[in-house]
Symmetry: C2
């Protein structure tokens, strides 16, 4: 099937999972995957959360994102991927002064 | 972790999975996911294959790809996604005269 994000209404989240600031997201979700096309605004962050039965793969489309992962900070820029494997926790921040756009997948490993 | 495709050597596949033409791909693989950044050349295709214990999510970065899925042909253009859910089979073709670049994930659902 084709997922055309232009046809999925954008939802604005404030303080996603206990973070701060604005996250705009368009999601396709079934029982096996979440597929997301999102914009994290400047200064915004998500709250820390764990991926116990799934993982998260984030492909940065534009801008850059700072990920807190396993006690370290790592930066992913356009064209790069952050991978939070099963059993780990993470959160992300946009520490820049422009939007960070990313494509993310959360697949269930069961 | 960060996956920087610029640091992963590109591998050229000829006739991937029984298809035809050229596929250049840079892959990160562990026991739970395959994460791929690939270019399907003009006129190239993959062979048909099934996803029995996993799925495949393909995000088109540039160009367009034609997917044969469940007996139909569907086209994904830059910014769009083709999703082959678990238990289905598919293959893709580049019917254009320019490269199709895509980011794909094959997560294991077990």
């Amino acid at each position: 099937m084709i997922i055309d994000f232009d046809k999925i209404p954008e939802v604005r989240q404030v303080g996603f999972k206990g973070g701060k600031g604005l996250l705009d997201t368009r999601n396709y979700i079934d029982d096996k995957v979440k597929i997301m096309y999102s914009t994290l605004h400047p200064g915004a962050s998500t709250g820390i959360h764990s991926h116990d039965e799934n993982c998260e793969v984030v492909f940065v489309v534009s801008g850059e994102l700072s990920f807190h992962y396993d006690g370290k900070v790592e930066v992913a820029r356009a064209g790069q991927v952050h991978y939070c494997s099963q059993g780990h926790s993470h959160y992300m921040e946009n520490l820049t002064d422009h939007d960070a756009v990313y494509f993310a997948i959360v697949p269930e490993h069961h």
